[in-house]
């Protein structure tokens, strides 16, 4: 690495750093040991993408744990599998159709019963747009 410290919307910087890292780990090439597999900043970035508010203490704990985990799972790169098709599903099924028959669905009351907030028979949510947009 190291992975960017700059603004998180600068995709070219992220992309370049990521590509370098991937090249270092790709099957066939010797793994270049460059320190951490994942940095604290990168964990913070992924947490933001995942809409997970993490405390500094959580980041301090999670980042080294994830670094060890990624180091362990990176072993999949040892397998030479260039001509092997990927498996997405254990028992392949495609295009499962059913007859287009109307059925009773969940009532409005049932659908709203577990909602954190309800208004006028609808889900009430926090504002979804910034005020200056």
């Amino acid at each position: 690495m190291p992975l960017r410290a700059g603004p998180y919307d600068d995709h070219s910087v992220i992309r370049q750093a990521v590509d370098t890292e991937v090249a270092a780990r790709s099957p066939g090439s010797q793994r270049v040991v460059t320190g951490m597999a994942i940095t604290r900043d990168e964990v913070a970035h992924l947490a933001r993408l995942s809409r997970l508010a993490l405390s500094d203490e959580e980041l301090d704990t999670l980042a080294p744990q994830l670094d060890v985990i990624i180091g362990a799972v990176a072993r999949v790169a040892e397998v030479v599998a260039d001509d092997i098709p990927p498996t997405t599903h254990a028992v392949p099924l495609t295009n499962v159709f059913r007859a287009d028959i109307t059925r009773t669905s969940l009532s409005q009351a049932d659908a709203l019963a577990g909602a954190p907030a309800v208004e006028d028979g609808r889900f009430r949510v926090p504002r979804i747009l910034d005020l200056d947009e």
Binding site: A47, L52, L66, I69, V76, I84, A90, G114, P116
Partner: protein, 495 residues
């Protein structure tokens, strides 16, 4: 009848059908047992006293009316808290869903109700089924009835502990990487992951959709077969459900015939890292199988050594996507909605507060593996490894009918022993993960003790051949019971 709680499910149902026991008495016995021991076990998150008594009375009324009852009618059952059932909360072991009551029954639950099974309540689990010890529950850990300082396995630890503590004769768990079989192994039970698609996932809160499968836990192979048959079958509400007849698991459990059955011992699932006691019991069991007429050979599945890393890329990737639904908008927890914060901020605060450490680790790991730039090297490569593991299974099944291994490398470990070391915890699922990746069915059954703790024997079979598990498991169990002179769980210390 003070020992009703020790009856198998089959014997309970037979006694009810014969009028020797009422379903209400069986249910009351379970409720009394829970009241007596569960403060030490913490298997139950919710006990549905009124619902259970009503269901039991209905069975008794139907019997009195001359109705012919099914083979599990009136039998108490513990339901893993990841399956929805109307009238009870579903928490998935998470603060995120604390107090949430689902508006519909899972198909597994509909089938149980139709079979007259009495659902006693919901049992504890690692949060959103992520873990191998049930320590990741937001509601405190469940304890192993064999030694309450030890873990009951996970993620279906509550399902296993409830049955091992004689609270209910049977329970439902779910298995994404071993979450039925590993708890069954360390609690001395029979646990089965059916063929993927064999049991509907409708109403099973998704963790890793291409791997999750619900299945039975029980104290005998026959009870597991009866429960398996009750919940299996095609379901139009689950598009990954398979349209094939349910394998004849109940008849297979009773066959007792292993002559000419070829059993392959997986070379890669043995050796260093496996407890000496686990290896000794496993060898003993193989000898018993040879004595029963089975043909035991060693086979190699070279890519199984990559199953664990592939799983810890695929499952977190699917998890990071599936758990996006916990967005604080339509159900569950909402934190920090102060009128100022926007929806995304409320979402972040809620997920930060509502998810525990392991769930957060896996969401971030999944987001990482799916990131542009990493996708091919991690997720894509893991999916190719998944293909190679399926090919290893296929090659092995050209030579043998079933595969065998220890279920877990070790017996139950102590609470807290691995909670701060995720990779050590992940190793608990070393032997069970290949079957999830390839989709085939697998069973764990108890074969003896090591250091006073149960050891599990894993049987794996080709997809749709679930009956072979029960044929081999039933015969092995009968031989071990005969040699021991009593059922395995009789050796558990009294609570």
């Amino acid at each position: 009848m003070t020992d009703v709680i020790r009856f198998s499910a089959a014997r309970t149902a037979a006694a009810i059908a014969a009028g020797e026991l009422s379903a209400l008495e069986a249910t009351q016995a379970a409720l009394d047992r829970i009241a007596k021991v569960d403060d030490r076990i913490n298997a139950f998150l919710y006990v549905d006293v009124d619902g259970a008594i009503a269901a039991a009375r209905d069975v008794d009324r139907r019997r009195a009316a001359g109705e012919r009852l099914g083979p599990l009618a009136g039998v108490p059952l513990a339901l893993k808290d990841v399956l929805t059932a109307r009238g009870m909360p579903t928490t998935c072991g998470s603060r995120m869903l604390e107090g949430w009551k689902p508006p519909y029954d899972a198909t597994v639950v509909s089938k149980l109700r139709a079979a007259g099974v009495v659902i006693i309540g919901k049992v504890n689990m690692d949060e959103f089924a992520m873990g191998s010890s049930t320590e990741n529950s937001a509601y405190g850990p469940t304890r192993n009835p064999w030694d309450t300082d030890r873990i009951p396995g996970g993620s279906s630890g509550g399902s296993a502990a409830a049955v091992a503590a004689f609270e209910t004769p049977i329970s439902i768990g779910t298995d994404t990487g071993g979450s039925i079989r590993q708890p069954a192994a360390v609690c001395g039970l029979v646990g089965v992951k059916p063929t993927y698609g064999g049991v509907s996932r409708y109403g099973l809160v998704a963790f890793s959709s291409s791997l999750d499968q619900a299945g039975p836990l029980a104290r005998t192979v026959t009870d597991a077969a009866l429960l398996h048959a009750a919940i299996a079958g095609h379901d139009p509400l689950d598009t990954t459900s398979i349209e094939l007849p349910v394998p004849g698991v109940v008849a297979a459990a009773a066959s007792r015939d292993l002559r000419g059955v070829r059993i392959g011992v997986v070379r890669e699932l043995s050796g260093d890292g496996y407890d000496i006691g686990v290896r000794a019991r496993f060898s003993d069991a193989l000898e018993v199988l040879v004595g029963l007429g089975a043909d035991v050979v060693e086979v190699s599945c070279p890519h199984f050594t990559y199953a664990l890393p592939a799983y810890y890329l695929i499952a977190p990737s699917e998890c990071s996507s599936n758990l996006a639904r916990f967005d604080a908008m339509r159900f569950g927890l909402r934190i920090g909605d102060d009128g100022e914060a926007g929806a995304e901020e409320v979402m972040s605060r809620t997920r930060g507060a509502g998810f525990g450490a392991e769930v957060k680790r896996r969401i971030i790991l999944g987001a990482y593996a799916l990131s542009s730039g990493y996708y091919d090297a991690y997720y894509g490569q893991a999916q190719k490894v998944r293909t190679l593991i399926s090919q290893d299974f296929a090659a092995a099944y050209e030579r043998v009918d079933v595969l065998a291994s220890p279920t877990t490398p070790t017996v139950a470990f102590r609470l807290g022993e691995k909670i701060d070391d995720p990779v050590a915890m992940y190793l608990s699922d070393l032997c069970t993960i290949p079957s999830n990746l390839a989709g085939g069915p697998a069973m764990s059954l108890p074969i003896g003790l090591a250091d006073g703790l149960p050891v599990g024997f894993q049987i794996m079979a080709p997809t749709f051949a679930d009956d072979r598990l029960y044929q081999v498991g039933g015969a092995l169990e009968a031989a071990l019971d005969a040699a021991r002179g009593h059922p395995f769980l009789d050796d558990a210390p009294p609570l």
